[in-house]
């Protein structure tokens, strides 16, 4: 769960990843399919990073679909009612999600592991029912409602613009997460996660930081949800399904829990595997593959794929490469 990364390596890696992300629409020849997959992938990178941010403070939510969907619904309903650009309404969606996240955070402050997982999971189930039934008049019930596009489809090559817009939002959000986790707030999160009693003893107020984590994570999740909905221009209570909550968990574990690059690597790799398996015409099998991979990672690589180079070095004793950059880093 620690950020053991070699500066230089991670810098090159980030650079290459950014370059690839920027060039992708050109490399893919503006292919409709590739862009669609890439946009959803970016949205899930944002979603997963937001989930991971919360997990960094020791709180693993199994109901983030609630905030994802709330962001989507609020943004859609406001955009439909007022005619504002979705770029403005996603912030409102995120804001409402953050406020509700704060309330759920208040409920969860005193809860640990499974208890917290249960409450968040149950919350998503309750929200789904509330949206589908008592609020059906505004939300369209189970049929769902249409959502305005992020950018008008009349602009030539709008999908590429949409891609870049979402790329900017994602990069900006990850940068925010990075800065927060690098500051004293991140240290407080780690302290609370490792041992709450000791954290309290050293003057950290766990309640304040846990609520902060919940609120900011819900905010970003709400934005991710709103972006997805404005991309697929439709929203229904299906969005609150448990599977929506599980994906960011799976991506995070796969990439590496509690790291910045983990959610990105996990989401990208699994999306590629997922789409690849789809290419072979597999349906149920690909879920089984994901499930088996997840089990294997939890057992054999508990710190995720980002720890793979380190594990390799440990196993084959290439100490030279390990020792050098460690000294260099300030």
């Amino acid at each position: 769960m620690r950020l053991v990364e070699r500066r230089n390596f991670s810098r090159y890696f980030t650079g290459i990843a950014l370059l690839l992300a920027v060039l992708l629409p050109l490399l893919a020849g503006m292919s409709f399919y590739v862009l669609n997959v890439a946009i959803i992938m970016l949205i899930f990178i944002l979603f997963t990073s937001a989930w991971n941010f919360l997990a960094y403070s020791g709180q693993a939510s199994l109901g983030h679909a609630a905030f994802f969907g709330i962001g989507g619904y609020v943004s859609t309903l406001i955009a439909r009612a007022t005619g504002f650009s979705p770029f403005a309404t996603i912030l409102v969606g995120g804001g409402v999600a953050a406020f509700i996240g704060l309330l759920i955070g208040l409920t969860c402050v005193r809860l640990k592991e499974w208890f917290l997982a249960m409450v968040t999971f149950g919350f998503a189930v309750i929200v789904q029912v509330v949206v589908a039934s008592p609020l059906a008049a505004t939300t369209g019930g189970w049929d769902g409602i249409g959502s305005p596009r992020l950018l008008s489809a009349e602009i030539p090559g709008y999908l590429a613009y949409e891609y870049y817009a979402i790329l900017c939002i994602t990069i900006l959000s990850i940068l925010c997460i990075h800065l927060i986790l690098r500051s004293h707030v991140g240290l407080a999160f780690a302290a609370i996660r490792e041992n709450e009693v000791e954290a309290r003893a050293s003057g950290i107020n766990p309640v304040r930081f846990k609520l902060l984590a919940f609120t900011f994570s819900s905010f970003l999740t709400g934005i991710a949800g709103a972006l997805e909905v404005h991309h697929i221009i439709y929203i229904s209570p299906e969005i609150f399904h448990a599977e929506t909550s599980f994906w960011p968990v799976i991506y995070s574990i796969f990439g590496g829990l509690g790291t910045i690059s983990g959610p990105v690597i996990g989401t990208v790799l699994l999306t590629v595997i997922w789409e690849g398996l789809k290419g072979f015409g597999l349906t149920y099998e690909r879920f089984i593959v994901i499930g088996v991979l997840l089990i294997l990672v939890v057992i054999f690589l508990p710190r995720g794929l980002v720890s793979l180079p380190e594990e390799f070095r440990k196993r084959w004793g290439l100490r030279r490469t390990l020792a050098e950059p460690e000294k260099k880093s300030d």
Partner: protein, 293 residues
Amino acid sequence: MALEFGILLQVLFWGLYAGCIYILLATGLNLIFGVMKIVNFAHGELLMLGAYITATVFVLSGLNPYFIIFLTMLVLGLIGIVVERLCFRPILGTGKLNEIFLSLGLIYVFQNGVALIWGDERQVLNSPYQMVSVPIGAIQLPLDYIIIIVITVLILVGLHLLLRRTDLGRAIRATSQNRKGAMIVGIDVERMDMISFGIGSGLAAAAGTLWVVSGQVFNPYIGSIPAIKAFSIIILGGLGSIPGAIAGGLLYGIAENGAAYFLGGIWKDSISFLILIIVLIFRPTGLFGESGE
């Protein structure tokens, strides 16, 4: 007024019947938790698999489905042991979050494995006693429901006797009370892990069998929600407490059916989580839970 009372009794009885399935799941989870201190969130997938095995054997052999329950429990017990050996033993003691993540993987594997073999259409099984109902006072009770309640009681009594009266039961209880102490007196705790996981899975299989024979629709995705409810039942009833699981199971069954009747079917699932959240706001360790866990 007499009619009102009759309806109330009917709702109560449905709750009792629905509660049986939760009780079997929650008792199994609790037994496993007591011994291994882990939670298998994929417990409901074992219920689902049990439902499919019972249905398949029933269709192939035409035996009375209530006899197949023993076979299904045995098969699932063995599957449970395999799951314990391959998946849960390696991560024992590596952190509670890992159990949740591992279970997620298991859920995907089980659900889609079953969908691959049997397809994911909704299916229904017709019990031989489908049309038979017993009049008790003002209400008509389906015979199936009565058999299910009786079977659940028998299974629970059997479990009680196993845990209280046999050497194996004593060893299991010793392991759950004090793992190190049990090791010192010569109990093979890893074997106890395996056995209690097997028994827990067998109980889930019984729940699955009761699920199909009572004519409830089943598909590969039925397991998750009951399992999660069973888990919230043991949170309410106290982790590791079997009487708590029974009381909680009944409470949930009745509350749910009451909500479905009075508020509408869509509220059925959410009412149990509402209860859970409200209880946890006031008592973060559950109704009977000790502090610490």
